[in-house]
């Protein structure tokens, strides 16, 4: 290789992106050519200057939750556009489609298993509020709550700290859902209590977007082999935020 050829490959050489043959050719040339060696050093130096000194823009706070919100809207079934057409025909069609959609949603989205589970979870939640049996282990310290579950359950539920997001850890207790002991981790925001139930998804995975029932809001999801179901009297929007926080911290 002569100098001109080498210069063509020099950036790729510095970046370690050349195939072996070319890599060796360039290397051989550089040992005998101080000019090209100098040029290679310059490329490397400038590249590291760029990496070091270039402004890196982090996404502004709030962008993430904006995106989550639009993703939620996006994944919801859409019927809104029907109502833009005020013609009776469109209404008739809308009614038809809606009733089918509702029937479909009823059948596919709320299998009776979910219904039972939710009913059970709601009664657990309301009982935990009523009989002052909120937690068996009262502590806002992860290092106390985490090990407390050991021996009481055949899995260790991840307990996360959400202080910065405004949710105080109240503590934990063992509760029963679908005939098995599950971890109930309790958080508080203002006066509102959130029960977060966690158990292994051995029988089935749950997946519920935020819904309301009997004045409580709940949502559930599956993450890393565990089912999470949270229930609270806070608004659906607030509960979505709570879910986002938990999922965010779990994936850290």
């Amino acid at each position: 290789m002569n100098c001109d050829e080498v210069r063509r490959f020099l950036d790729a050489y510095v970046d370690g992106e050349l195939d072996l043959t070319h890599q060796l050719d360039v290397e051989t040339h550089l040992t005998g050519c101080p000019d090209c060696q100098e040029a290679a050093d310059q490329i490397a130096n400038f590249s590291s200057l760029v990496r070091m000194d270039m402004e890196v823009y982090d996404a502004p706070r709030g962008l993430k939750s904006k995106i989550r919100t639009s993703l939620r809207k996006e994944s919801e079934p859409k019927f809104a556009w029907f109502f833009e057409y005020s013609r009776p025909l469109a209404y008739a069609a809308a009614v038809l489609v809606l009733s089918f959609a509702l029937a479909w949603a009823w059948v596919t989205l709320s299998p009776s298993k979910d219904q039972d589970l939710v009913a059970e979870a709601i009664s657990n939640h309301s009982r935990s509020l009523m009989v002052s049996h909120l937690v068996d282990c009262r502590s806002s310290d992860l290092q106390t709550v985490r090990p407390w579950f050991n021996g009481k359950l055949d899995y260790s539920p991840p307990v996360v700290e959400l202080n910065q997001a405004g949710y105080t850890l109240v503590g934990g207790r063992v509760d029963i859902l679908e005939n098995r002991p599950v971890a109930a981790i309790v958080y508080q925001r203002g006066k509102q209590i959130i029960n977060l139930f966690v158990w292994p998804a051995t029988r089935r995975k749950i997946d519920m977007d935020v819904r309301s029932e009997r004045g409580y809001q709940f949502c559930g999801w599956n993450q890393a082999g565990l089912n999470y179901l949270c229930i609270s009297e806070m608004s659906g929007d607030d509960l979505e935020k709570f879910e986002d926080q938990v999922r965010e911290h779990l994936s850290l």
Binding site: V50, D58, L71, S75, L109
Partner: protein, 177 residues
């Protein structure tokens, strides 16, 4: 239905900073970059079925880049795209800073101006390679170019950036005299 969304979020939200940084560097405007990133995530979500695993980051950045270009074309006639903020060029550096910090600050400032002077084509390849750490192969996929072209474009972009950098520095030095 929620499950798919959650999986998508788990894979792609960790790349939010990278996505924003790329958009921000391409359009050089905060609000526009935010809108682009948001739109790109929606597009990515709709096209999620087409994602065959592999490098999610490069896949997402490709979509961010395409969205940014669509955006630029759509708004080409608008006044909305501000090329860069004036204050940056009038930045005053405190004399209380120790010498080395002034030098670093100055260097950052020169680099910033030099990058802003590059064509979008050159700027994006620098960002994608030096900052986002894409390999030549990933660059080829993202930019829709053969690897050979990636190699020569990156090389030209670097030469150009270096020239602009030297020019900014020289003209600043001349101004100070």
């Amino acid at each position: 239905m929620g499950e798919e969304r959650r999986r998508f979020e788990e894979i792609f939200l960790p790349f939010l900073d990278a996505a924003y940084n790329l958009a921000r560097w391409i359009v050089q405007h905060d609000q526009d970059a935010q809108d682009i990133v948001q739109e790109a995530y929606m597009r990515a979500f709709k096209g999620y079925h087409g994602f065959r695993g592999g490098n999610g980051r490069a896949w997402l950045l490709t979509i961010v880049r395409n969205t940014a270009y669509t955006w630029i074309n759509r708004h080409a006639a608008d006044e909305k795209l501000v090329p860069y903020e004036e204050e940056k060029h009038a930045a005053i550096i405190s004399f209380n800073q120790p010498g080395s910090e002034i030098v670093i600050e100055k260097r950052k400032e020169y680099l910033q101006s030099a990058l802003e002077r590059l064509s979008t084509e050159f700027r994006e390849i620098i960002i994608l390679y030096e900052l986002e750490g894409l390999s030549y192969k990933e660059l080829a996929l993202t930019l829709g170019l053969p690897v050979g072209t990636v190699m020569s474009r990156l090389s030209r972009a670097r030469r150009r950036l270096q020239q602009e950098f030297a020019q900014v520095r020289n003209s600043e030095a001349a101004n100070e005299l």
